[in-house]
Symmetry: C2
Subunit: 224 residues, 2 copies
């Protein structure tokens, strides 16, 4: 099978969403070609493969495209069945999907508000984001990973919390996401950093920090 | 198995989200107890079973709760494997999840803007919603249902477009969702209405119309 397979990932180095797909493919040992997109000048391939959202990541497997990171992760798990990233039990699968969706729909929405606000409004947004992250943290409940003793779907989706939020914290200052407020999540980040593949699938900290800082500075809501 | 199973659905009669779960359970032939919630006075059970979102629908299967309608639908399909509502092929499953998520995240978000706006802003929102619905319509591509020759996941999730959007159209007037603009979707609605179970799992039109009208009237954005 492997010889005839063509797997291409269209992504952007700084995007947690395409990094998720990279990590899942590597955890499965699926060889793939990575295509870096320039979002200010999207390639005809990206527009052809994701005409609806015109966004990365897109996985193209033997010519067939799949878009939206959570959808792609499920596709990967169903296509390459070794090293499952979703649990097998239906109720555990449901809980996994629930928390993955919680990260993307609640935590990220709250974090976006933090970034695009200022002053009092930002303080309120930080409290809301923290409340959501506390709920996520409680799901670890003494485990090393959300997936139990090895990383799984929620750990992969949580990459944005683990590696992008600390960058935002560094820029924002204050108490958006600190080890004091989230000892459990920071312990989990430590465990993630012990995994080589995880480190391969995230941007270098300094490079990401410079990139995110530049984005803040070009926005009107730059922290003062 | 069936004798020992306890399946409870916490829902609200006017919610497309709980109606989706009702329909999926009925398509599977799973007996269940339905509990109507009062959202202005949520029951201790609802708050206990969905402490994160405190929203309906919640499915409780042998004491274990599952929340979020798309997550519940996947759970139902994985737990009761007869009459599958998702296709079996991984790429078709991915497309199915993509379009279900498109309905909830794009089409519904656009429709909410239509409802909660007025004047020029509403006109813009209607155009945006129509653009998204056109993309959905194209997926029918000559088929009776999104699921092919029988209803499936996207048809179930699409209940809100099929039966709630025409109600809003009737109240709004204009051209938000008309058979002229969407002949394919209206043909699909006709096919859905030929299925008894589908009709069992939607509110009576007049009752829903009165309910939605009252909600519009109590809002500041009531159509003039």
């Amino acid at each position: 099978m492997a010889d005839q397979e063509e797997v291409k990932l269209y992504g952007v180095w700084s995007s947690p969403f395409s990094r998720r797909i990279e990590l899942a493919l590597k955890l499965k040992g699926v060889p793939f070609e990575y295509v870096e997109e320039d979002l200010s000048n999207k390639s005809p391939s990206l527009l052809k493969y994701n005409p609806v959202h015109k966004k990365i990541p897109v996985l193209v497997h033997n010519g067939k495209p799949v878009a939206e990171s959570l959808v792609i992760l499920e596709y990967i798990d169903e296509t390459w069945k070794n090293n499952p990233i979703l649990p097998l039990d239906p109720h555990e699968r449901a809980m996994t999907r629930f928390w993955a969706s919680f990260i993307d729909n609640k935590i990220l929405a709250a974090a976006v508000k933090v970034v695009y606000s200022e002053g009092k409004e930002r303080e309120v947004a930080i409290l809301e984001a923290r409340e959501h992250m506390k709920m996520l943290e409680q799901q670890l409940n003494g485990k090393d990973f959300f997936g139990g003793d090895k990383i799984g779907f929620v750990d992969i989706v949580g990459n944005v919390v683990a590696f992008w939020f600390p960058i935002n914290q560094e820029i924002l200052g204050g108490e958006f996401f600190t080890p004091e407020k989230f000892p459990g999540l920071f312990e989990w980040i430590g465990k993630l950093q012990e995994i080589d593949l995880v480190n391969e699938c995230r941007p270098p900290t300094e490079k990401l920090l410079a990139y995110v800082k530049a984005r803040y500075e070009s926005s009107k809501n730059a922290p003062k």
